[in-house]
């Protein structure tokens, strides 16, 4: 079935692609920041109460009523009515080169802003191209709203042109999804989906929009975006739970805080930091929790897990009371559960009751909002009754010295990736945003960048999606204040997966720096092949990579290249000075591996520092 079945379903392949580029560039210029909070509130109220006219206009009104400033997407037949309505909206639209770019950009935008990012796609292939990014957001509990076009309702189920059962496909990877079936209701549904994404434990939601519903007439105002009552959890935890947890913490000899992504999502970093400092409890974070506690603080042991620091993994192995906040105990963190924190009583604070005792049994479950609960715990412990952590802290410091994070430099050898990461870290502000692809480069960025600010490490954790870095950087750049820097660390393999989004960065004139840690391998696979498959490099050698610096120039971006240590300083300076997207093709030691490493399913304390320890 190749013909569009109705004129409505006309796809852009047959029409003129709209030459909207200039227009869009204009509209996506950052706002001048003069809007006062009152003006914003008034604009939202106006959007919530106006008579939209059509289903599509109601969709857009719902976005405006929710205070959405930017959406990322790609046009197409079934979503055209919504785009048409969007042209008259205060919502900026960033046209991406691929829907996967749109969904990752929206995801990163949401992480940086702390409000759901919005992405849009047409039916069928547009919607399926969103799937990876929605699954990614779901695993990382990122608030996001996806809007997808759908074939007209009466054609649903007929295998019509560009039809996919989007609700069915995305049900397991969304917090909830909706099939809009009424022009009068569609605006409310979009508002509800937006609010739900951001309620309690955040997550992605989706609204599938059949073309007849968006084309249909309606004068029903969309109202304020509201999540269903049932989805709104209590912020405060049960007092008895808090008391019990507080007693456990007070009597602990080796207490350890484990801060997960939930601390950042729950805007609880301030409380978390104050708590650990008040009671002088050492802190490890999970990878998504990076930035919740400053890594240059004496109490901070950095992040634990497969490629976490040796000292964090030692501390987790030997703690007798693990105060875990906003973490889902992913296996990349725990290694084998049988050996995870085997002597610890576990205090688990989470807004989602289903996370309690899912992977690791909680001796002290505390269900509630991270910030609220930490305050409750703080009050319940009270000053003076704090556990005495002096010798435990000394022990942690000793581990820090025994298992330092370091690497060897030989000026005549290829450049070490860790050195490149450190060079950029030294040259950039503390509040710069770092996005990454997935692989060794992601781990080096996480290990050798010193993170001190929440929401600055923007990465794909739970799903581990290669190709996240560049579109993530675009989303972060659009979301961030102008004076904050954005850098993306990429692997050659990861970069190639979504490199087309460089065209968007150029079109939008986004000041981002992409650093490709180029080892001509999909290095993390090569590392595992060396460790577990007798060095059989099946399909992992990528010595057919383009010249990324030259390719960047072809896109209209600025290209740089690092071949040896002597290049580093100069390139770092030039790349950061360049106003616009730049790509640094850093040719690194292709044999370099990521250590420490806990083999999958092994005990955290058994981290290997070199291949022969695996």
């Amino acid at each position: 079935m190749n013909e569009p079945a109705t004129p409505d379903a006309a796809s852009p392949e047959e029409g003129d692609p709209e030459g909207r580029t200039d227009d869009e560039r204009e509209r996506s210029e950052p706002t001048d920041g003069t809007d006062t909070a009152e003006e914003e509130a008034a604009a939202r109220e106006e959007a919530a109460t106006r008579e939209p006219g059509s289903g599509a206009a109601a969709v857009v009104a719902a976005l405006e009523a929710a205070g959405v400033e930017t959406a990322f997407g790609v046009q197409g037949g079934a979503i055209m009515p919504v785009y048409d309505a969007l042209s008259a909206s205060t919502v900026d639209h960033v046209t991406m080169a691929h829907e996967q770019g749109a969904v990752h950009a929206a995801d990163a935008y949401g992480i940086v802003r702390g409000d759901p990012g919005v992405c849009m796609a047409t039916s069928g292939p547009g919607a399926t191209n969103l799937v990876t990014g929605i699954a990614d957001a779901s695993m990382d509990s990122d608030a996001m709203l996806a809007l997808t076009g759908q074939v007209p309702s009466d054609m649903v189920g007929s295998d019509a042109f560009q039809e996919t059962d989007t609700v069915g496909v995305t049900a397991p990877i969304t917090k909830h999804n909706y099939f809009a079936n009424d022009s009068d209701e569609v605006g409310r549904t979009v508002g509800e989906a937006f609010a739900l994404a951001n309620t309690g434990r955040p997550g992605p939601t989706l609204v599938d929009l059949p073309k007849d519903v968006t084309f249909g007439e309606t004068d029903r105002p969309v109202g304020e975006p509201t999540a269903p009552d049932r989805a709104v959890p209590d912020l405060e935890a049960d007092e008895e739970q808090v008391e019990a947890a507080a007693r456990a913490i007070q009597t602990a000899e080796r207490p350890l805080c484990l801060f997960g992504g939930g601390v950042i999502k729950g805007d609880a970093t301030e409380q978390a930091r104050a708590f650990a400092r008040e009671f002088e409890i050492p802190v490890v974070t999970t990878m998504p929790g990076i930035g919740s506690f400053p890594e240059d603080d004496d109490l901070c042991l950095s992040w634990a897990g497969m490629h976490g620091t040796g000292y964090a993994n030692m501390a987790i192995t030997h703690t007798d009371c693990l105060i875990a906040v906003g973490t889902r105990f992913d296996d990349r963190l725990t290694g084998g559960v049988d050996t995870f924190a085997p002597e610890a009583e576990v205090v688990h604070v989470d807004i989602d009751p289903a996370e309690i005792s899912k992977n690791v049994h909680a001796d002290y479950p505390v269900v509630g909002d991270a910030a609220t609960v930490i305050d409750q715990l703080d009050a319940a412990i009270g000053y003076g009754d704090a556990p005495d952590t002096e010798s435990w802290r000394a022990q942690c410091d000793e581990w820090r010295e025994r298992y330092p994070m370091d690497y060897a430099i030989d000026p005549d050898e290829p450049v070490k990736p860790q050195f490149v990461v450190e060079a950029f870290d030294a040259a950039m502000d503390d509040d710069a945003y770092v996005t990454t692809g997935v692989g060794q480069h992601q781990m080096w960025a996480a290990q050798y960048w010193t993170f001190t600010t929440p929401r600055t490490f923007v990465s794909s954790h739970g799903l581990g999606t290669m190709g996240y870095g560049l579109p993530g950087a675009i989303g972060a750049r659009v979301a961030a204040d102008d004076d904050r820097e954005v850098i993306s660390f990429e692997g050659d393999g990861s970069f190639l997966m979504t490199i087309q989004e460089l065209s968007v960065a150029v079109r939008e004139h986004l000041d981002i720096t992409v650093v490709v840690l180029n080892n001509e391998y999909i290095g993390m696979v090569r590392q595992w092949q060396d460790a577990f498959f007798e060095g059989n490099h099946m399909a992992s050698q990528y010595d057919w990579m383009p010249e990324f610096d030259t390719l960047a120039e072809a896109f209209g971006a600025k290209g740089f290249r690092i071949d040896e240590y002597d290049d580093v300083e100069e390139v770092v300076e030039a790349a950061l000075a360049y106003d616009g997207p730049s790509v640094v093709d850093a040719h690194i030691d292709p044999e370099e591996n990521v250590y420490p490493m806990v083999a999958s399913g092994a005990a955290n304390g058994q981290f290997a520092l070199a291949e022969d320890q695996l």
Binding site: P172, L196, R230, H318, P342, S357, G605, Q613
Partner: protein
Amino acid sequence: MAGPTPEERPHPTGRRDEHGVRKEPDHGPEPTRRATVSALVEDEPGVLARAAGLFRRRQFNIESLTVGPTTVEGHSRITLVVEETEAGIEQAKKQLAKLTPVIAVGELSGDAVAAELVLLKVRGEEPDKVHAITSMYDGQTLDAGPRTITVQITGDETTIDDAIDAFDQFGIIEIARTGQTALERGDSPTTPGEEPGHSAGSTDDDEFTNYDD
């Protein structure tokens, strides 16, 4: 990098079981049990698929699943029988409760009323004997011909299993079982906080009034 090798580092001796519970090192496998879970849900398209999909995705061991309307318009009840470890049952309930259209989830107590319906088609050669067994189980004959007899039996799971065994002697041709459905006994609500609506003609009420296990 320096530092003691993995073997040289101090190791705690404690261990956890597969559910992350701290245990003696020589603990055995966790026992499983059967639980009947009732979920009150918004009656919207796809809700059954969501529940079933959840159970498949998370690999919960589900034995039966029934669904039907309640006395409250717009609400349905899903009854699930799962065979899981204690921790697995808790997870299953929490995950189910997380679904947006799910209003409340309860696990039924041991003395809840539960019933299942089975249709049995057996060979018709000995109609009298078939009839005798049907009456013994308070069943009904729905269709009787020279070659086949189809009967209906309702009852709790053991009754149904026993009935099937009893009919086996005639040669069972086909079977259709509904899976268990259940309600809490007396005044206790089947899912927490549930406020049942009253509808005079509700089959919901009648069907089980005289049921006794």
